[in-house]
């Protein structure tokens, strides 16, 4: 295999914070030696519940946050050593909330053109209308403010802005979760066709498993900053191994009202990033937990076609 387009090797990011004034600082491990490889043209789905480090992983991949340890390489070059102009032309983000990711006082034309104005110099007008065509945005909206657009149109504008410098990598941080379901499908199909047309490598962060199944080639599941399972999309959705992945899959809603609400298997408590034990991080909530899980740290091991961080699976 050639050099992967995106490679995180043992990236670690720790936040030190106080929960109360004068309380001793505590460490929150947002990324715990996360390693990811995404081959060129592939899409990696990154899933996990809120607070599991997905957004930190995004910031680290974009080069906006320097990991405490480990490396991030894009196209074989370390992102920390890359010039800003090179980085910008290589990797671009699409954010969750198109209401917040576009400056409300600017016009769509200048929002889309801004990366060009900062770095390009190519024919701006032609480029902007070309990008608007590409993402299916009527050119008459070029002089509108973001507030005058619908959520889906705003997300299209955000995608156009991200793609105007022809980056090789697109990092999508939950690009559909702020949108209506009908619009979600349009944006997903747009991303799929863009990926095919432009040969994009994508990382798709989401907690909507249905979307990930539709878009991703491989899926990595995160829990409290660790990758707990990684497999191809088909393998993961047919034969998930880790109890957390199984619980996530069981919790997703299916489009059939007769099935009713999915049964909760993990209890009502969310993951507590501070209550870190020596053993498996998932042990406090695990349905198949055993005595040894409390003490023995788990490491990733291959099970069938997957990488799984659990020795009981």
């Amino acid at each position: 295999m050639s050099v992967p387009m995106i490679r995180l090797s043992n990236a670690r990011k720790v936040y030190r914070l106080r929960r109360r004034m004068f309380a001793p600082t505590e460490e929150l491990v947002a990324l715990n030696n996360l390693s990811l490889d995404v081959a060129e043209g592939q899409t990696l789905g990154l899933v996990g519940e809120s607070g599991c480090g997905k957004s930190t992983a995004v910031s680290v991949m974009l080069g906006l946050l320097r990991p405490d340890a480990g490396d991030v390489e894009i196209a074989g070059k370390k992102i920390g050593e890359m010039a800003v102009a090179d980085r910008v032309r290589l990797i671009q983000p699409v954010f969750q909330n198109p209401n917040a990711s576009l400056n409300p006082v600017k016009r769509i034309r200048s929002l889309i053109a801004q990366p060009l104005r900062l770095h390009g110099g190519e024919d701006e007008k032609r480029n902007v209308s070309h990008m608007m065509d590409l993402v299916g945005l009527p050119t008459r909206l070029a002089d509108a403010h973001p507030a005058e657009l619908s959520g889906g149109q705003r997300q299209r504008a955000a995608i156009a802005r991200a793609l105007i410098l022809n980056p090789k990598v697109l990092i999508c941080d939950e690009p559909t979760s702020a949108l209506d379901v009908s619009v979600q499908a349009q944006i997903i199909n747009l991303l799929l066709s863009l990926k095919k047309e432009l040969g994009l490598t994508m990382v798709f962060v989401s907690h909507d498993l249905g979307v990930v199944e539709h878009l991703a080639d491989r899926v990595a599941v995160m829990y409290l900053g660790e990758k707990i399972e990684e497999a191809t999309t088909d393998t993961l959705f047919e034969a998930a191994q880790h109890p957390y992945t199984l619980a996530l899959l069981a919790a997703s809603l299916l489009p059939d009202p007769d099935i009713g609400l999915p049964k909760q298997t993990l209890g009502n408590a969310a993951a507590d990033p501070f209550a870190v034990n020596k053993g498996c991080l998932f042990a406090p909530r695990c349905p198949i937990v055993q005595e040894s899980c409390q003490h023995v740290a788990q490491s990733l091991r291959p099970v069938n076609d997957s990488l799984v961080r659990c020795d009981k699976a």
Binding site: L64, A85, P93, Q96, A100, S101, P104, R109, H119, A142
Partner: protein
């Protein structure tokens, strides 16, 4: 296409301005006063500092003893009161705008830095704001004028260095609210530099708020200039300033009350105009209305 749309936006703002009573009244008044200030030499019938001791304390036109040459009478040195009032608009407006500009630049820069970075920088700047709020303006101005001598430039510098707190507080709050928005992260991702993010991206988001603060500050400064001139700390005689005119008319308040009433009314009208205009503009440009 750009021009057409820009024109329609401009046209709609213009339409909204004309239907807002505050903007119409305040704006008209303000425009008249600005015109007076600009064209004072053309409008004034006399030299504002030429004395004529034989014609002291002449009353204005509605009085029996009035002289047609001096429409609004003369002061205790026989200077034409109308000319002095017209020239006085220059001082009031000049000081008001000059001070607001200086304090605005200082306050907005500090506030944006504090709000955007937070942490230690915010602590230092917030402490500076608190320190500034605890300074009595008149006393500090007194000390500064005593050291630097009373002049228009000293006055503008001193007040500009003292009155930036409101700008700082407002822009700090706005920057705090915006710094975690995704578009800021997006700007980092396209490699935008700090000055661009602060002044070209965050600042335009708070122009409505800044506009209100500007109108409050201009009004405040005009009053303050009058007060300082009245105390002898501001504009030096014989430069005509409305505050100074009130101060000079003080001795004759009993028999010639117009000496105070006229410049007082002028100050009142100008402050009213600025406030009406600023309030109206805020209503029009408020983000909720767009």
């Amino acid at each position: 296409m750009t021009d057409a749309t820009a024109e329609t936006t401009r046209a709609s703002i213009w339409r909204k301005m004309r239907s807002n009573t505050g903007v119409v009244i305040g704006g008209t008044l303000l425009a008249i006063i600005v015109a007076i200030a600009v064209f004072a030499p053309l409008l004034s019938p006399h030299d504002p500092i030429a004395q004529d001791l034989t014609r002291r304390l002449l009353p204005p036109f509605w009085h029996d003893r009035s002289v047609p040459e001096h429409l609004l009478g003369t002061d205790h040195l026989g200077r034409d009161y109308l000319s002095r009032l017209l020239y006085g608009a220059r001082v009031s407006l000049g000081v008001g705008l000059g001070v607001t500009f200086v304090s605005g630049v200082i306050g907005i820069t500090l506030g944006l830095l504090a709000g955007y970075f937070g942490g230690r920088i915010d602590m230092v700047i917030s402490f500076a704001i608190t320190t500034r709020l605890s300074l009595p303006i008149v006393l500090v101005a007194l000390a500064a004028v005593a050291l630097g001598g009373a002049s228009l430039v000293t006055l503008i510098c001193v007040l500009g260095l003292l009155l930036w707190d409101r700008f700082a507080v407002v822009s700090r709050a706005a920057a705090q609210g915006l710094r975690h928005q995704e578009f800021i992260m997006g700007l980092h991702a396209i490699g935008a530099g700090l000055p661009r993010i602060l002044f070209l991206e965050i600042l335009p988001n708070m122009r409505a708020t800044i506009l209100v603060v500007v109108s409050l500050e201009v009004a405040n400064v005009i009053l303050l200039e009058s007060a300082l001139s009245f105390l002898g700390l501001g504009v030096r005689p014989p430069t005509p300033s409305w505050g100074l005119m009130i101060s000079e008319g003080r001795d004759n308040i009993l028999f010639d009350p117009w000496l105070i009433a006229l410049p007082g009314t002028a100050i009142c009208l100008l402050v009213l105009a600025v406030n009406l205009f600023g309030d109206g503009l805020r209503d029009i440009m408020g983000p909720a209305k767009r």
